[in-house]
Amino acid sequence: MSMLILALAITMAQIILGLAMGCAAFRVLRGPRAQDRVLGLDALYLAGMLLLLTYGIQTGRTLFFEAALVIALLGFAGTVALAKFLMRGEVIE
């Protein structure tokens, strides 16, 4: 019984996080300006990382944790590079 409730709660959370990714993707597609799109991308990868963590809880495997860590690392580097690009027009000066 408690397992069923937990399964429902986790599936609900995954649907909610999927919606959150949808909202962020809307901002990426709509813009209106470049900085809005980068901001949407930042929120998108974060929600994706949380979604992976809930998959980890669901399956009980630690593999997803490492994937989440890699997303957090690469997402940070990506957003910083994009912000730098918006400011200067070049990533590495």
């Binding site: 408690s2 397992m3 069923l4 409730i5 937990l6 399964a7 429902l8 709660a9 986790i10 599936t11 609900m12 959370a13 995954q14 909610i16 996080l17 919606l19 959150a20 990714m21 909202c23 962020a24 809307f26 901002r27 300006r33 900085q35 809005d36 980068v38 901001l39 949407g40 930042d42 929120a43 974060l46 929600a47 990382m49 949380l50 963590l53 809930t54 980890g56 809880i57 669901q58 399956t59 009980g60 630690t62 944790f65 989440a68 860590l69 957090a72 690392l73 940070f76 957003t79 910083v80 912000a83 730098k84 918006l86 400011m87």
Partner: protein, 113 residues
């Protein structure tokens, strides 16, 4: 699709409540991304997800794996430290880039340098 780890009742409650809470907070943050008007207002809501949203889901994850492996599993703390340290840096850089672009273009209601 219906699959969940086999946990005792108290752990089930903690994991379920915190997972849902974290997901909801993240959703509210991204809804704010859609609903608020200007760019500088929209920079604020994405901080909801990385701070409290991530924290709730990580608490659920720590509880779940600690009970499953019957030893304290705390490596999720790394994600918490990492995300709370990096999100402000990215948002700050992004806001500065936007400020710079707005000043250059002379658009928007931004304070002068």
């Amino acid at each position: 699709m219906i699959q969940a780890p086999d946990l005792p009742l108290w752990a089930t409650l903690i994991v379920g409540v915190f997972v849902l809470l974290g997901a909801l907070i993240t959703l509210i943050g991204t809804i704010g991304l859609i609903r608020l008007g200007s760019f500088y207002e929209r920079v604020h809501p994405p901080t909801l997800g990385p701070t409290l949203g991530t924290l709730c889901i990580l608490v659920a994850s720590i509880t779940c794996f600690s009970v499953l492996q019957s030893r304290p599993v705390v490596h999720e703390i790394l994600i918490a430290i990492f995300v709370t340290l990096t999100t402000p840096v990215t948002l700050m850089l992004l806001a500065r880039a936007a400020l710079y672009r707005d000043r250059r273009a002379g658009t928007g209601d931004v304070p002068k340098d």
